[in-house]
């Protein structure tokens, strides 16, 4: 019976993490494995501690959380002094359905970054640190949509005194488009002043880009679709 519950948790669509009394991760399920690839366990532990029930038992707290995916509540509980568990409830969202139409053209990513960066940041006193993975080949993109999103993001960082721009391929992750798996291409921006509005997030969502923000860092992810 215990085995059954373990399997149930392991295959749950929501992440579950069990911490021991010293704050280390004791167990976690598949979804938590994915979650912990971009959020530190310390952050989740702090979240659990600050929302734990006052005495033994479980407490559900509704809150909006954004760890690449969106969550609407957490359940934190403990039955003894040994273990503390947390479960995050994922928001039911429509899956990203990317369709490649004739507006997708093969393009060099850096030329687009260059155009957008210069269009928006020219003349600004921003110290730029650029770190591009030049092995990323030309990828199919909707140029208009991509430039629009980049322009908005550079505008959001235009008050920063420094801005770090990175591009890289994400290892071990894929984006599925029309039943085909593609590597994930990322552009990461980090400055000291970011005004990434909900409108920009909305724009990204509507244009098939995955946009995540954390403090003053923003990351855009999209499939690397290479012409064969």
């Amino acid at each position: 019976m215990e085995k059954f519950y373990e399997e149930l948790i392991e295959n749950d669509l929501d992440p579950f993490i069990l911490f021991n009394s010293s704050g280390s991760v004791e167990k976690y399920n598949k979804k938590a494995d994915f979650l912990l690839s971009f959020v530190s366990y310390k952050e989740i532990y702090d979240l659990a501690i600050s929302n734990a029930p006052k005495s033994f038992g479980f407490k559900r707290t509704f809150m909006d959380l954004e760890f690449k995916e969106s969550y609407f509540a957490i359940l934190v509980g403990y039955l003894d002094e040994e273990y503390l568990g947390i479960k995050l409830y994922k928001k039911a969202e429509e899956e990203n359905s990317i369709t490649i139409d004739d507006k997708y053209k093969s393009v060099n990513l850096y030329t687009l970054i260059e155009l957008s960066k210069n269009s928006i940041l020219a003349g600004r006193q921003i110290s730029l640190i650029e770190d591009y993975d030049l092995t990323i080949p030309e990828t199919k993109l909707n140029i208009d949509q991509f430039l629009k999103l980049l322009n908005e993001l550079f505008q959001a960082y235009s008050r920063s005194s420094r801005l770090k721009i990175r591009s890289f391929l994400k290892l071990g992750e894929f984006i599925k488009v029309e039943n085909q798996k593609y590597q994930v291409c990322c552009i990461h921006l980090e400055g000291d002043d970011a005004q990434v509005s909900d409108e920009i997030k909305f724009l990204a969502k509507n244009t098939n880009f995955i946009l995540t923000t954390k403090e003053t860092a923003t990351q855009i992810e999209f499939p690397l679709i290479v012409d064969k």
Binding site: T111, L115, S116, N118, S119, A122, I143, L147, N151
Partner: protein, 249 residues
């Protein structure tokens, strides 16, 4: 000037952007004051794209003398000159026509329609470009006026108020004026007087044509009024009166 001059870091960056943008199917807006090279840069972006004054183009569309289906891209100069510019841009977008436009300023009404923006600053902020342009116009003017030999560049009166336009004009004027002979000056004055003399003319008033340049030149050459009166052999009181009359004191 048939090519965009890029010696300064800023101009090089703008040219680099124009070259990149030339291979992209996106709308490009080039802004900057008059005479900074917007049209030349637009040609870099558009290659063989047809170019029009924006107002003229909007009238051609109204008159249906331009078939938008036949256009893949178009260069529009001075888009601020068209009142319903947003409508025109929309019409072009509906027909998948790429727009490369020039404007004196950024206008929020249509700014978001241009995903690539290139801003050119005045020439006075780009001394490296001024030097190259100066040499180019100087060579051109010397060929035009058949002036052999070196030119004393310290005598050139450079005007950058209208960027390359005023720079060219000021170099041509300087070169022309610095090489005028006495009979040519007299011809110019005569020509002017033939055109302006009327039935009744006050001789004393027309004297300013001679007196103002003379007094200005003497002031530059002899510095003080005392020296001016001595060298021009004119009474000091009379000189002072004349300087006051022409606001030269």
């Amino acid at each position: 000037m048939k090519e965009f001059i890029a010696a300064s870091k800023e101009a090089k960056n703008s040219l680099h952007m124009a070259n990149i943008a030339s291979s992209m199917p996106v709308n490009v807006l080039i802004t900057g004051p008059r005479g900074v090279g917007k049209k030349l840069l637009a040609k870099v972006v558009a290659h063989d794209g047809k170019s029009y004054d924006a107002l003229e183009f909007s009238q051609l569309i109204k008159g249906k003398t331009v078939d938008l289906n036949q256009l893949s891209k178009v260069v529009l100069y001075n888009i601020d000159g068209v009142k319903n510019i947003s409508q025109l841009i929309e019409q072009l977008e509906q027909n998948d026509v790429q727009i490369i436009a020039t404007s004196d300023s950024f206008n929020q009404a249509y700014l978001e329609k241009f995903l690539v923006k290139i801003e050119l600053s005045p020439l006075q902020d780009r001394p490296e470009d001024v030097e190259i342009l100066k040499q180019h116009f100087l060579k051109e003017a010397k060929e035009t006026f058949f002036l052999p030999g070196d030119t004393d560049e310290s005598k050139l009166r450079i005007d950058l108020s209208q960027n390359a336009i005023s720079l060219k004009e000021s170099i041509y004027k300087s070169l022309l004026f610095n090489n005028l002979k006495k009979d040519q000056v007299m011809d110019i004055v005569e020509n002017y007087l033939v055109k302006t003399l009327e039935e009744e003319n006050d001789y004393k008033e027309l004297l300013e044509l001679f007196e103002v340049p003379l007094l200005k030149a003497a002031k530059k050459r002899f510095k003080s009024q005392l020296q001016m009166s001595k060298r021009l052999r004119i009474n000091r009181v009379t000189l002072r009166k004349k300087l006051a009359k022409y606001d030269l004191d």
